[in-house]
Amino acid sequence: MEIVLSAAIGILAASGVWLLLRPRTFQVIVGLCLLSYAVNLFIFAMGRLMVGVPPIMPRGGFIDPTAYADPLPQALVLTAIVIGFAATALFLVVLIAARGLTGNDHVDGKEPEA
């Protein structure tokens, strides 16, 4: 599982970064989305992998932490998801506005010369 997940993180990150370096605003936003998936999974991976043991416990009593997934990275990912969503939305609107004002969808607002 670990190898698959890390490969997945790698591929998502690579696609994201590649798009991030492209000249079109739309490519950049898709890249940011992909990158944020990769980052979320990465944070998540920091809590190690647990299959079938959600961080939800029976009521009452103490439990053995090792039998449960580390909840903190999950909480962090949740926050990161929300913030990433907000950022994506904002970037989208800005890119649309930039497109409207500059007339093209290049990240610099103007087509490169030559």
Binding site: M1, W18, Y37, G100
Partner: protein
């Protein structure tokens, strides 16, 4: 005690004057002059009061603390030398004041001038009086700044602006060097107190940093005193009003440099290095300055070069450093101030009365202004070193020092010859000044008809010339004792009294003077006609002017090169910036990890499930596909992104994070819709960009491909290693143990979010709110690209009219889903604390429900039925969340302290009643508001465009009708 206060008053007086004058009305000429004069007179009184103590050989000190941590204190000290210099400043200052009163035009904002002038005086006094070497630099820089303002006083002229700027830059830069020198000196000595520094000469000279300190110090002094090769700012500064020149460029500012040389010669002097640097520079300046002065046609230009030359003389004396030389330096410092100030004033009068300063146009002025003529003649005779005048005495002493001193170096041997040569030059330019202005044929084509200036304007000149005569004739009686006092305070108390007398007998210096006088007259007689015809500068060399050179260098250094540098080292394009960030991130991670990162010996691992791998095959395909297609097939990229997102969600679920899966999924949906909403405003992608096929583009892509691949591999490697390492005890365990008892919930993630780390959530919802209002604000001013608006028109034409009914059947189902989604949201909300879900998920779900209605119908249909005031929702949500947090204050707990317990309600049973639930309600309201706001604000653009088009069409019709 009284003296201490007097000292402080003395420094404060000019600044007080500046403050007073600066607040005056621009038309209050006389008042400003009077106030300044009164303050200066008061200064004179103070000086007189201090004379007693000074005359007794005392050093008066006064101190106010400022920043003791930096060794920076407003400490002042006054000895004989300083007293003399301060008297000079005040004296010449008063005369300049009177002069300026008549010189400056009524239309100028004169109080400002006085304010600057007084502030400058204060700064100058500060330089001289400072008993702290750092404070000295402070005042030093102040003089630079104020001189900038004074030179640029007539800022309407380009020359004044350039001159002011150049003066500021040169002297300011010198000041910075001086600052460094002083810091180092302070550290070598261990104190910034001037007295201690002056007493530590041996320590300083033995220090390995001595050459550096000396170099920096000398740069500071030389720039200020306009020594070669920094002399060029002074002629440029002649664009200043004449009173400024008379004050700054004869008596004060330029003298600050030589003052420091003299002052510090006991500390830094008496070494070969000092001698060669200082005397060498001084002599070069002396000779070259005098030589160049001969060729100037501009009166003030001639005086400026003459000043440079005389400053060189003093510098050379300071470099020689013998007792006699220092005495001569101090003496000449005074003498030069006196005669040069009077000459500047005279030049100003001439300029004022005739309207020109060009010697080639002037002539025969002795008829029109006989008094001024005689005054100027006497003063220039002093400048030339004619006997019976003060200039002669100090020059004689200089010759003596030049001839006397013998350390055997070539420079020393050459000194007398150079001195005589310079003397001859100075006679020549003085003669030229007199002859061409006052003698010869009467000039006819002058801008104004000359006559004598107002009497009061002439008074200062008269006073100065009188001093020239008095000192020249009766040196021992007038200046002798004071001079001795000054010299003692520089050289130490055991200095024998030197009698300055007019006649020492037939000595070598006298002979040298005679030679210089004769040679000078000869030079003038031979060349004056040729010079008048020639260019402004020596033959051949006049094109090579330091000023031009400096300007060109400055232009290169401060404009051309920086522009080039900005192009080379900076970019405003986004791609290189992001590439740099990515590359640096790679480096930042690689450097610590290189060679250290290794899989654990006993790796943790979860057995592989082939289905999981297959899922990620799909996910990877989606991700790569999105990367490949985002350029030409945006729609496909959005869909692929959705695919990758779905797989990510599944991964979260698979790996025991149902909360994440739910949230990610909901966010995913909204993001997709947002992207689709945005897609409409992007330009239609042209099929292919031709340049993309070219080699450079391919190379760029290849490079980015490598970068992206490396990032991917690196991140994957780090993630893999981390995942296979055993988990260390971390704070997560505690959460697991305590979530139920302390947080009152079984869903630890949610308990963390709304209780343990509710503050994160609190911040996060604020982020959402901010983004919401930003989107709103931005879209209020949205302006679509022209072709996006026309496009809809085309499509509208293409649309099958029956398509308006296309949504009839689907919309029914969409409406039905509305309550279902609401119930789902409620479920997610209420079970959040115990099971996956929570306010965020619930908010997004409701907004999806609303969005669905927008999808199934049109904006107006929905908005006629559902009123969503997103911004209100946001505000209320934030207030609820914040208010819940504040509620804890009432019970004396910190912000966001949650209270949770299960309440037993009759009939219903145990009900979780956590304040976190209220907090979550706030989150819910906010998320709902924000999500709806973003979606709807974007969607509304279409409507706006439609309305706009209608308006345009109506306008068009009106126009056609008209």
């Amino acid at each position: 005690m009284i003296e201490e206060n007097l000292l402080l008053i003395l420094v404060a007086l000019p600044f007080a004057a500046a403050l007073a004058t600066s607040t005056m009305s621009p038309r209050a000429h006389d008042a400003a002059a009077w106030v300044s004069g009164l303050f200066l007179a008061a200064g004179g009184v103070v000086l007189a009061l201090l004379h007693g103590a000074i005359g007794a050989g005392q050093v008066v000190r006064g101190q106010i603390g400022w920043v003791p941590a930096l060794g920076l204190d407003l400490s002042f000290r006054m000895d004989g030398f300083v007293w003399l210099f301060v008297s000079l400043i005040f004296g010449i200052g008063s005369l300049v004041l009177i002069y300026a009163r008549y010189y400056l035009s009524k239309t100028d904002p004169v109080p400002r001038f006085y304010a600057f002038l007084m502030a400058f005086t204060g700064a100058m006094v500060g330089v001289v009086l400072s008993g702290n070497i750092l404070m000295l630099v402070v005042f030093w820089e102040l003089t630079s700044i104020l001189s900038f303002l004074l030179i640029g006083y007539w800022h309407q002229g380009q020359a004044a602006r350039d001159g002011a700027r150049m003066a500021l830059i040169v002297t300011g830069a010198g000041g910075l060097c001086l600052l460094l020198a002083m810091i180092l000196l302070g550290q070598i000595v261990g104190s910034h107190d001037l007295d201690r520094v002056l007493a530590s000469g041996d320590l300083v000279r033995a220090h390995p940093l001595y050459p550096l300190v000396l170099g920096l110090f000398l740069i500071g002094c030389f720039t200020k005193s306009a020594q070669m090769p920094f002399h060029f700012w002074l002629p440029g500064a002649m664009a200043a009003p004449t009173p400024v020149s008379a004050f700054l460029h004869s008596a004060t500012m330029v003298k600050a440099g030589v003052f420091l040389l003299v002052r510090f010669s006991p500390v830094l002097g008496q070494t070969d290095l000092w001698f060669h640097l200082v005397t060498g520079t001084g002599m070069a300046t002396l000779v070259l300055g005098a030589f160049l002065a001969i060729f100037r046609h501009d009166l003030k230009g001639l005086l400026a070069y003459s000043t440079i030359s005389h400053l060189g003389l003093i510098t050379a004396l300071a470099g020689i450093g013998s007792d006699g030389a220092i005495l001569a330096a101090i003496f000449h410092l005074l003498n030069h101030a006196v005669f040069k100030a009077s000459l500047f004033m005279a030049a100003g009068i001439i300029d004022h009365e005739t309207g020109t300063r060009d010697m080639r146009r002037l002539g025969g002025l002795r008829h029109a202004m006989p008094v001024t003529a005689s005054l100027a003649i006497v003063a220039s005779a002093a400048m030339a070193g004619v006997p019976l005048l003060n200039g002669f005495l100090s020059k004689e002493m200089f010759f003596a020092a030049a001839a006397d001193w013998n350390n055997g170096s070539w420079l020393d041997n050459a000194l007398p010859y150079w001195a005589v040569l310079a003397g001859a030059f100075s006679v020549a330019y003085s003669l030229r000044f007199i002859a061409s202005v006052f003698f010869g044929p009467v000039a006819t084509d002058l801008p104004r008809s000359p006559h004598e200036p107002p009497a009061l304007m002439r008074r200062p000149v008269e006073a100065l010339v009188l001093i020239c005569l008095l000192v020249g004739i009766l040196p021992g009686l007038t200046l002798g004792p004071v001079l001795h006092l000054a010299a003692v305070s520089v050289l130490g108390p055991d200095l024998p009294y030197t009698d300055i007398a007019l006649w020492h007998g037939l000595t070598l210096p006298l002979a040298m003077s005679c030679v210089a006088l004769v040679a000078g007259v000869g030079l003038h007689a031979l060349f004056h006609a040729a010079i008048a015809r020639g260019p402004e500068g020596p033959p051949l060399l006049h094109r090579l002017r330091a000023q031009k050179l400096f300007e060109r260098t400055m232009f290169l250094l401060t404009w051309t090169l920086p522009r080039l540098g900005l192009r080379l080292f900076g970019t405003e394009r986004l791609q290189p910036q992001l590439r740099l960030i990515v590359l640096l991130a790679l480096a930042a991670a690689a450097v610590p990890l290189w060679g250290v990162l290794a899989p654990a010996a006993d790796p943790l691992s979860v057995p592989l499930n082939p289905a999981f791998a297959a899922m990620w095959a799909a996910g990877a395909a989606c991700a790569l596909g999105a990367a490949a297609l985002a350029k030409y097939h945006r729609f496909a990229a959005v869909i692929l992104l959705g695919g990758a997102g779905a797989v990510t969600c599944l991964t979260f679920a698979w790996l025991s994070a149902p909360d994440l899966a739910v949230t990610q999924l909901l966010v995913e949906i909204v993001t997709t819709v947002l992207l689709l909403l945005g897609l409409r405003w992007l330009p239609k992608r042209r099929e292919e960009i031709a340049a993309d096929r070219l080699l450079p583009a391919r190379l760029r892509r290849a490079r980015d491909f490598v970068i992206a691949g490396t990032v991917g591999i690196g991140l994957a490697a780090v993630a893999h290693v981390m995942m296979t390492w055993p988990l260390i005890p971390n704070v997560g365990d505690w959460f697991l143990r305590n979530a139920y008892h302390e947080g009152g919930g079984t869903n630890v993630v949610n308990v963390i979010l709304v209780d343990f780390r509710a503050f994160d959530t609190f911040g996060e919802i604020t982020v959402l709110a901010i983004v919401g209002i930003t989107v709103f604000a931005l879209l209020r001013r949205f302006r679509p690209a022209p072709e996006s608006t026309t496009r809809t028109e085309e499509e509208a034409g293409l649309r099958d009219p029956t398509l308006a009914h296309a949504l009839l059947v689907p919309s029914v189902i969409m409406r039905w889903m509305f309550p279902v989604l609401i119930v789902l949201a409620a479920i997610l909300f209420f079970r959040g604390h115990d099971l996956p879900g929570g306010g965020f998920s619930a908010g997004v779900t409701v907004s999806i429900a609303i969005l669905l209605q927008y999808l199934g119908h049109d904006l107006r249909w929905v908005e006629a039925r559902l009123t969503v005031l997103p911004i209100r929702w946001m505000g209320v949500g934030l207030l609820i969340a914040g208010g819940t947090g504040l509620g804890a204050f009432v019970f004396g707990h910190p912000f966001l302290t949650a209270h949770a317990r299960y309440v037993d309600l009759p009939l219903i049973g145990q009900v979780p009643a956590a304040t976190a639930l209220i907090f979550d309600a706030g989150v819910f309201a906010l998320v709902l508001g924000v999500t709806v706001l973003m979606l709807i604000a974007l969607a509304h653009q279409s409507l706006r465009i439609a309305r706009l088009r209608e308006r345009d069409r109506a306008a068009q019709k009106e126009r056609e009708a008209a």
